[in-house]
């Protein structure tokens, strides 16, 4: 039976290898280097970095306190709210994007935001909002399980030596949760870097304006510019691989240095 399991393992690896190989044979190394320094590719890399880092930062600011409350406190309707917060995880990004499009559009929030000259739609800030929506539930899930793993008596131990709620959270719980928070951050960052559906709906696909790496792939592939599309794909693959390696290393390290 174990031989069959090994067979399954090899099929999984080979299918991924097949996809990567098919991308690799489309373009030679010289062309990759040339397209990598093309202004469009550089713009896409820069916007992807700015949008994903901003989205993850906002998601951390919103997600960490939410996760802590869910892990530590009981309140009426917690079960419903907990499930409600998971909705973005099970919705397709396209549907999330469509919802955000209507929410930020001129009929709803957009009507009020336009009075302050704020318009998120079809702009790079729209990409940040869409990606924040994708990243936040991932951060909440990851941080929540980390906070739940930390015995509540650590909070109590902090209180009994005279530390306030804020001091207990900042000085004890947050440092103890650092590996879990970092893992969640990397996971969310990887996910936002490759985010396409929601970004497309909210920010649109405009060259040198809302052109993140996935949008650049989409625009160039549909217009026959295979070189830039594949280069952008490789940038995503390599950065994703490095981030996932870091995530796994963090997992091993936290096991090795378990408190």
């Amino acid at each position: 039976m174990i031989r069959v399991f090994y067979l399954a393992l090899w099929i999984c690896c080979l299918s991924i290898f097949g996809v990567l190989l098919s991308l690799a044979v489309q373009i030679d190394l010289l062309e990759i280097v040339a397209t990598l320094i093309a202004s469009e590719t550089l713009f896409a890399v820069k916007l992807s970095l700015v949008a994903s880092v901003s989205a993850v930062m906002i998601a951390l600011i919103l997600g960490i306190p939410t996760a802590y409350i869910l892990a530590r406190k009981d309140f009426p309707g917690k079960f419903i709210i907990d499930t409600f917060l998971d909705i973005p995880l099970v919705m397709t990004p396209l549907v999330i994007g469509m919802g955000l499009l209507f929410l930020l559009g001129p009929d709803l929030l957009g009507k009020y935001l336009s009075r302050f000259d704020i318009d998120f739609l079809f702009s790079s800030s729209g990409a940040i909002i869409a990606q924040t929506f994708i990243a936040t539930p991932l951060i909440i899930r990851s941080c929540r399980s980390t906070f739940e793993e930390i015995d509540e008596k650590y909070d109590w131990a902090g209180y009994t030596i005279g530390l306030s709620n804020q001091q207990v959270f900042m000085r004890i719980i947050l440092p103890m949760a650092r590996n879990g928070i970092l893992s969640g951050t990397i996971l969310a960052w990887t996910r936002t870097l490759g985010e396409f559906g929601a970004t497309l709906m909210v920010a649109g696909a405009t060259r040198f304006r809302t052109e993140t790496l996935p949008i650049a792939i989409y625009l160039n592939l549909t217009s026959g510019e295979i070189g830039i599309a594949i280069t952008c794909a490789w940038v995503l693959i390599v950065s994703g691989f490095i981030l996932m390696l870091t995530l796994k290393w963090l997992g091993y390290r936290s096991k090795a240095t378990e408190f």
């Binding site: 008596k153 109590w156 902090g158 005279g162």
Partner: protein
């Protein structure tokens, strides 16, 4: 004068009319598992909702959040902050005392010294042994200068010798610091060694209060089947040997016991202070007897072996893994050794214990 007074405390697991502890007193709360001991500590510390009043040094604290109560708490599992060194664990406990940097360093060194953990200052908790962790946790609990210290079976995870040593150290420090303390245990031996006052808790309320002598020796407290009971050996002094020892006749046996300078008719020894072996040990034969195993019972995770010694019976407590190693069965012949320094003659006055 009472330093802490609890009145009409009620919660899910606790229903207490009154509890008082005097300033600098070490009160020990004993009771079986599920009696509500830990719940009571959690109520006092402010972690569990309850009805009733808690007065600490004339000040009502029941409406204060835990971090404003100035109540130190040593948990059973210690909960040292794993990302901080020993020194940092102490410094964070002194944060509420608002010391200058110089004073903070000085005070940290003083407390490290007091608890004999100076050499561990830069170690992390996962680098410490069980006993060292215990010392550091005690040091941290004291570092915040609490008005009241709560301890929840802090020595229960330690081996017998380390626990005994730390109990002795803790008692000395508690008296030195004159720190009002409530100590929870289910070990009567521990209660006797530590407690100025012993309170027995059953089904959420205090059923008996007094000194060890009041509770156990004079009244033969009833309903305390969950506790390790001492062996009380009845007899009389046969003769004084003149070297600080007396011969005590216990049934058909003669024991050597320290001369207390007074007459006594009872000798106390705790089951955990008796050594048991299946084979005849080498060395002096003082207070060593041969008997047979009559009965075997358990208390918590320990084994109580009842040994028949001629006309007398004796309870011996061993850890269950040691019992398995010995491979003993009912009626097996065994040798018991009553450690001389653990035998204590009891007259009308309250007994102490050297062990």
């Amino acid at each position: 004068m009472s330093d802490i007074v609890l009145k009409n405390i009620s919660s899910r697991f606790v229903n207490l009319e009154r509890l008082e502890i005097n300033k600098g007193e070490l009160a020990v709360l004993v009771g079986p598992s599920g009696a509500g001991k830990t719940s009571l500590l959690n109520i006092i510390a402010g972690f569990v909702a309850h009805r009733g009043t808690i007065t600490l040094g004339q000040k009502s604290v029941e409406s204060l959040p835990p971090f404003k109560r100035k109540i130190g708490y040593l948990f059973q599992d210690l909960f040292l902050f794993p990302h901080m060194t020993v020194s940092q664990n102490l410094k964070i406990a002194m944060k509420s005392r608002k010391l200058s940097n110089g004073q903070l360093e000085e005070e940290t060194s003083r407390i490290l010294e007091m608890f004999r953990v100076s050499s561990l200052a830069s170690s992390f908790p996962n680098q410490l042994s069980g006993g060292e962790k215990q010392r550091v946790a005690m040091a941290r609990a004291v570092a915040s200068k609490p008005r009241l210290l709560l301890l929840d079976e802090p020595f229960s995870h330690l081996d017998y010798k380390t626990a005994r040593y730390l109990r002795h150290e803790f008692k000395k420090l508690q008296k030195k610091l004159n720190l009002t303390t409530l100590f929870v245990t289910h070990n009567l031996h521990e209660a006797q060694e530590l407690g100025d006052k012993i309170m027995v808790m059953e089904n959420g309320s205090i059923s008996q209060t007094g000194s060890f002598a009041d509770l156990w020796l004079e009244q033969e407290a009833t309903g305390l089947s969950f506790l390790e009971k001492p062996n009380l050996l009845n007899g009389q002094i046969q003769r004084k040997l003149g070297n600080g020892l007396v011969e005590f006749k216990w049934g058909d046996k003669l024991l050597l016991v320290a001369d207390e300078g007074v007459n006594f008719e009872q000798v106390i020894i705790w089951p955990s202070d008796i050594h048991i072996l299946p084979l005849q040990p080498e060395g002096p034969v003082i207070n060593r007897f041969m008997g047979n195993i009559k009965k075997v019972t358990t208390i918590d995770h320990n084994i109580i072996i009842h040994v028949q010694l001629g006309l007398n019976t004796l309870s011996v407590m061993v850890e269950s893994h040691y019992f398995k190693t010995l491979g003993l069965r009912l009626n097996d012949p065994v040798y018991v050794l009553l450690r001389l320094w653990c035998l204590r003659g009891i007259s009308a006055s309250t007994p102490g214990n050297n062990c």
